[in-house]
């Protein structure tokens, strides 16, 4: 498998009141060409920030990459100029966001907004650009595409707006599509439409997708491989089937056990005790230790290393130190 994107030891921090607050602590994972990678975690796990770091969308915030590499094709995105980065954004890496209601400019017509990346990156002339825009809208299943381009976002439903966002994102044939909680704000039946659309487009275009979500159901439906994040770190990485069949990290186990499943007759759900930690006040050692059912003395002392396990899996937990302790990264 050819790697499209490789993230190594990525660290990102914010500065508040002259104090740096590190949110991402050495994130490692990669995305292969033509694959859907799921990035799972609860609020505050740093999954959205990871995507913003890849796009280097920090303008207007104090966020900044403070370490590590983001290898995209043959370029390291962490040290290319802003103007080179702009050529990648929207062209090679495109992004869709959680809130389709607020992610479109309310005072610009759909067409104008859709044409922006097309003109910018494909250099098409007015007429061709417009034809391209209409064809993309049709591709994402928008009826009356020719009329829609003259309408404003507030005239469309949430599902339609998310289709527009997808159209905008795929308009320049990106190699990587980052979808940050693309269906969280949508109703179940609309979510089904959008997921279905994304799956189809991904397969047709052989695009790589980084799907960020907190919904394990969406992960199971959509992804080939999964990366689980907790408190700004990757705690587990595995093939989607293996992850759900035999989760390794106690956090992953807890997460899968917490979700009520249809048709499952269970009086009580498993749950993870305690709360998601505050990034400014993380515990020492393994960040999950205070909530972990399998906690050992060492967990409170030292952060577990990223352990490579069989089948290309990895897990950051002291429980597996004995298994393959020699291959620490």
């Amino acid at each position: 498998m050819e790697k499209l994107l490789q993230i190594e030891k990525l660290e990102t921090e914010f500065t508040k009141d002259k104090q740096a607050l590190k949110i991402l602590h050495g994130v490692n994972f990669h995305i292969n060409k033509g694959e859907v990678l799921g990035l799972v975690g609860e609020s505050g796990s740093g999954k959205s920030l990871t995507s913003l770091s890849i796009m280097k969308l920090f303008k207007g915030t104090s966020g900044e990459i403070s370490g590590g590499r983001i290898q995209f094709n043959d370029q390291d995105l962490t040290n290319i100029s802003e103007s080179d980065m702009r050529k990648i954004r929207g062209k090679q890496i495109a992004m869709i966001f959680q809130e389709p209601m607020t992610s479109l400019n309310p005072v610009m017509k759909i067409g104008e907004q859709l044409l922006e990346p097309i003109r910018l990156h494909l250099g098409l002339k007015e007429k061709q650009a417009k034809a391209h825009a209409v064809s993309i809208l049709k591709k994402v299943g928008i009826p009356r595409a020719e009329e829609i381009i003259n309408e404003f976002p507030h005239q469309l439903s949430g599902g339609m707006r998310q289709r527009i966002m997808i159209a905008m994102a795929i308009s320049c044939n990106p190699q990587l599509l980052i979808a940050d909680e693309p269906t969280t704000a949508l109703d179940v039946t609309i979510q089904a439409q959008i997921l279905d659309l994304m799956k189809q487009l991904q397969q047709k275009e052989n695009m790589s997708v980084l799907l960020i979500t907190h919904d394990l159901g969406v992960v199971a439906e959509m992804c080939d491989r999964v990366v689980v994040m907790y408190a700004g770190r990757v705690v587990e990485e595995a093939d989607v089937f293996e992850l759900f069949e035999s989760p390794k990290h106690p956090y992953t186990k807890g997460l899968i056990g917490s979700v009520p499943k249809l048709g499952q007759k269970k009086e009580k759900l498993d749950s993870i005790k305690g709360n998601v930690p505050d990034p400014s006040n993380l515990p020492k050692g393994c960040k999950f230790a205070p909530r972990c059912n399998n906690v050992m003395p060492i967990c409170y002392q030292e952060e577990p290393p990223d352990l490579k396990l069989e089948n290309g899996r990895s897990c950051s937990c002291w429980l597996y130190k004995e298994e393959r302790g020699d291959i620490c990264v």
């Binding site: 609860e42 394990l216 989607v240 759900f244 997460l255 048709g263 749950s271 709360n275 998601v276």
Partner: protein, 323 residues
Amino acid sequence: MSNTLLKVSGLRKSFSIPDGMFGKKKLLKAVHDVSFLIPEGKTFSLVGESGCGKSTTGRLISRLIAPSEGEIWIDGEEISQRKESQLKAMRKKVQMIFQDPYASLNPRMKVRDIVGEPLAIHTKLSKAERNKQVSEILEVVGLSEYHAHRYAHEFSGGQRQRIGIARALIMKPKLIIADEPVSALDVSIQSQILNLLKDLQAEFQLTYLFISHDLSVVEHISDHIGVMYLGTIVESGPKEEIFSNPQHPYTKALLSSIPIPDPRLRRERIILQGDLPSPVNPPTGCRFHTRCPVAMDICKVMEPPVKKGPTADHFVACHLIES
């Protein structure tokens, strides 16, 4: 057979909303002929997508708003048209838990005063007596006296929802209306709260009206379920029936739309076309016919009557069902 604690029949609510910027008003039919009942100590869930009227139904039953038509019987008393001054007794018996644990607790009040507020409203207890009861109830929901002197925003979402639950419990209510109580929470916290709600129900013989868009959560917590679409209940029945033997095409589609956290179960979905129609201008006949994959001619003109489903307690409003 236990008593019926809540009985709702023929409930309707329309809001008049301004049409554009001009004087003309339009009617938004939020709830359109909703009937169901909840036996004491059981959980009934209303499930549906946004705008289906499930929250409005909850607000009607708690009489935050007055229904346009219909009856609401709570513990043997009809309260649908009562004035606020006549609702005090009912307000003691019925408590609410809200979706957003951040917004539903006054940020300027301490936990002690938030949880004790129902006591301050309904009883003449002294402050010390109120505080004592607050400490007791905080223990019940897994918090402690220690938390009482702090402000709600010092807590995480899950803890706040516990505070909200404590507030709902302190009057020893009979009915709790929980409007999306876990949808704002992280997955790992969501299960804590669901478990807590179940424990409390067993301990205090509570009756729940549970409102949610999440079918998996609903399946876990409910005894009976009502599936709502555009202001009406299209199908209702015991949980097992709804999930294992759904009759209404909308219920079927809804069930098949839920992503299941098991990659081996990837399946063919019934994907509904189009968007939800606006409740201001709902479709004629069966409200679902515009998106229904098996719609017939009659569906466009005639509202389907509620028919008995395959088993007792199972009701479906669909022309396809032979009664």
